[in-house]
Symmetry: C2
Subunit: 232 residues, 2 copies
């Protein structure tokens, strides 16, 4: 029995609060499975199918895909922010820095959806973006400390972390279950390339505003426009 | 006028050979634009819309998306194989090796569709796979020569080239037009990580068979099953 699907378009029909809550949890659990399997490009329609509810029910609970994404990944974003805190606690900043990259990239490999979340930004998902900003501030601090030890190249830029997550997502998406550890080799190579002394100059980092735009562009707010008709 | 669209389901209606040829060219040109813009996950239906023909017409000319992909990217695969030949002609194998990576990655950046082609394999597209194998043989030779000069790390594996193309595709897909040069920084970092002496050991390369499976898995032969109904 599914109260939301029973009365999909009748706002006067108010299911019991506990039913509403159960429905919400059911949608989040289904979305978690679908995003983990298919990535964030999965449609709201496929989440509805997985949850066994009508698509109208999903859109009533989560008017945008961004809100659904934020609900699904709230706990992972917490773990991600925790990983930064752990790294900051490491008495060896370079060791903490490397450990953080390995942990965050492993979180991407464990979940195709989260692999994308780390390369996107979701302006309307305030709580999630606050956690991300908190993590970002911590990373900037960690990078400064790692540079001070002389182990991290001087021209390393915080935006390089976003780029490594984009690269890692590419490897993870392309190798999938067929070669599930391939990303480890790429990440190890990237980490070695971060080590001081630098072996040569690098092309400039993308402008902050440009990278932010890219992270917006990749977010599901865009593709949502191409969603199937919401009315069924 | 479009003979294919006029008689979409009537095999007795044989358009003139030149019409058939024009239709084929029109579909290839449309697919080139759609793949360049949206990547290989673009549906046959969106290629049909771009070409202004019925989807049945496309499937009559190209029974599988793999065949359409091969037709669209035949010339790019030729350029890719040529880039290997140029690298082999370089009297400095390390310089040739670096130049090849930069050229191939720039080809990915110039075309989202080709970015994916370099991380996939299309077993039924014989001519294309022959070109790719030819390029691969050349690369193995180039890698051996670059190692012999002492500039390329000894544990570099030919499969690392596939991994860098997967990583690069991830950066290109995520940054797009917003930060169109971001990939250059990632590729420069990767190249520095390839330089001898190695800064540390690496996780093992994926098994050849596993990586091959991944390249198959990522190919449009899979997603084609999820294509919209062919009958419209």
């Amino acid at each position: 029995m599914n109260p939301g699907a029973q009365h999909p378009d009748d706002p006067a029909s108010q299911p019991l609060r506990s039913d509403a809550e159960r429905n919400r949890e059911r949608i989040i659990a289904a979305a978690r499975r679908v995003f983990a399997r298919d990535g964030l490009n999965a449609s709201m329609a496929s989440v509805a199918r997985e949850a066994g509810v009508g698509i109208a029910t999903i859109f009533r609970r989560f008017p945008t895909k961004e809100e659904l994404v934020a609900a699904v990944f709230a706990d992972r974003m917490d773990s991600y922010a925790d990983a930064v805190a752990v790294a900051l606690d490491d008495p060896d900043p370079w060791h903490g820095f490397v450990g953080y990259i390995e942990t965050a990239c492993a979180m991407q490999a464990a979940d195709y959806g989260f692999a994308d979340v780390l390369t996107m930004t979701f302006p309307t998902a305030k709580a999630m973006e606050e956690r991300r900003n908190e993590a970002y501030e911590g990373m900037v601090e960690l990078i400064d400390r790692a540079k001070a030890t002389g182990r991290l190249r001087e021209d390393f830029d915080p935006s390089d972390l976003v780029l490594i997550h984009m690269a890692n997502a590419g490897v993870i998406n392309a190798t999938g279950d067929a070669a599930p550890d391939a990303w480890r080799r790429v990440v190890a190579l990237m980490i070695q390339s971060f080590e001081a002394p630098a072996r040569g100059p690098l092309p400039a980092s993308p402008e902050h505003a440009a990278l932010y735009k890219a992270m917006l562009r990749a977010s599901p707010a865009g593709p949502a426009a191409a969603e199937p008709d919401r009315s069924n």
